[in-house]
Symmetry: C2
Subunit: 217 residues, 2 copies
DNA sequence: TCTTAAAATGACTGGATGGTCAGTCATCAT
DNA sequence: ATGATGACTGACCATCCAGTCATTTTAAGA
């Protein structure tokens, strides 16, 4: 009987999510209406409800899709490293930062959705759960990376890998937050690169060459 | 003629702003209604409009008040340093981080309002203007601090002060953002201390002793 | 081609919200 | 004491929006 092809269903779903991303990024969660999303997607007002239970569920689906997009990019970047480089935690870290910067620069909407999610997480338990889970996973991965780096002597022996991971994540998020307010003001790629090259608390294996100009406003 | 005492007017205003802070921090900007604020302040629904043109103006007033609160705290912390210490940019930086951590820990609402403002800034030009101005001012101050620190040899000569300042600010903001989602998960004070003690890209005058345990979730 | 069930539509609803305003009440100069 | 001035009140309005559902359209199978 005439059930729409699975493929078509998925396409519609993606179309709606993409429209939602555009709208949420443009106007924020609360200022975006379901009607906006439907119109942007080119469907009627009722259609989104055939694919998602409601606005919040749609946002969560979007968040997961986009976060996955980011995670996938990061994995791809790490996987794409040449074998010897992949063994160096420091190099991996730089690749992670670079991949994130590239993805965000290319899709500024990612920034917006990410920030919106983080802010919403303060009041919406369902969203908080997703955001915290994503954060914890990233933190774990980074902690592992720093652990390896410390073991390999790329960071000082006494360093606390969990703390390093947290500071690194905080730096990434803070940079995105600053950048999304005024994208033209400083080069995200360079700043994130510096953050990765940075030796929080350690004897400086690296030096001035990782520094780039930022124009300061 | 019977004009209310200026003192009384200011008190009412502050009372409304305090109520707004509580409500915005509890439920976020959009989910907070003017009726909520009025009720929390113990006044009628019309009264806030006698002191502020509307919801957005009230939020902006709150943002400025709270931001000033933070800036004042920072200034006080710096001013309170003993004279020789105040001459050391590194020490000043640590004092700044410590003052912010203390203020935020004591008033978690600050975190919420700050994040809410940053997110809103993406869509509300009036708020964006205030946030960007505040950011630029902080960035300038920090840049000056790093400049002095570099001149004094506390950071490597080649370092870019503007970039350092940006990374430091990003770290602070990112830490607040992580902390407000799960205040119990890690000690903000210690993390911010580590951030200030950190030698992004520099030879490490400091070492492991600035590291504290963070439990990693 | 024709049947039929699922998909899509869009008018509708019930509730909520920012903001207003005519009227009330407290205060202070006289 | 008293009355004029302005702070305060809270019912009210116009608007908006998430979500529903009866109806129409679409496409897969016979």
């Amino acid at each position: 009987m005439p059930k729409i092809a699975d493929e078509a269903r998925t396409a519609r779903r993606d179309q709606i999510i993409a429209a939602a991303a555009e709208c949420f990024a443009r106007a924020g969660y609360h200022a975006t209406t379901m009607a906006d999303i439907a119109e942007t997607a080119g469907v009627s007002k009722g259609t989104p409800y055939l694919y998602f239970p409601g606005k919040e569920a749609l946002f969560i689906a979007l968040y997961e899709e986009w976060d996955c997009g980011l995670a996938a990019r990061v994995d791809a970047a790490v996987g794409g490293l040449a074998e010897p480089a992949r063994r160096s935690p420091r190099t991996v870290l730089a690749a992670v930062a670079s991949a994130i910067a590239a993805h965000v620069t290319g899709n500024p909407q990612t920034c917006r959705v990410l920030m919106e999610a983080t802010t919403l997480a303060a009041y919406e338990p369902a969203i908080a759960a997703k955001v915290q889970a994503a954060n914890a996973a990233s933190l774990d991965q980074l902690t592992g990376l720093f652990q390896a780096g410390i073991a390999a002597g790329q960071w000082p022996a006494g360093a606390d890998p969990a703390l390093r991971a947290r500071l690194f994540m905080a730096g990434l998020y803070g940079l995105m937050s600053q950048w999304h307010l005024a994208p033209g003001t400083f080069p995200l790629q360079a700043a994130m690169g510096a953050l990765a090259g940075t030796d929080a608390v350690g004897p400086g294996e690296h030096r001035g060459d990782t520094e780039k100009k930022g124009d300061g406003t």
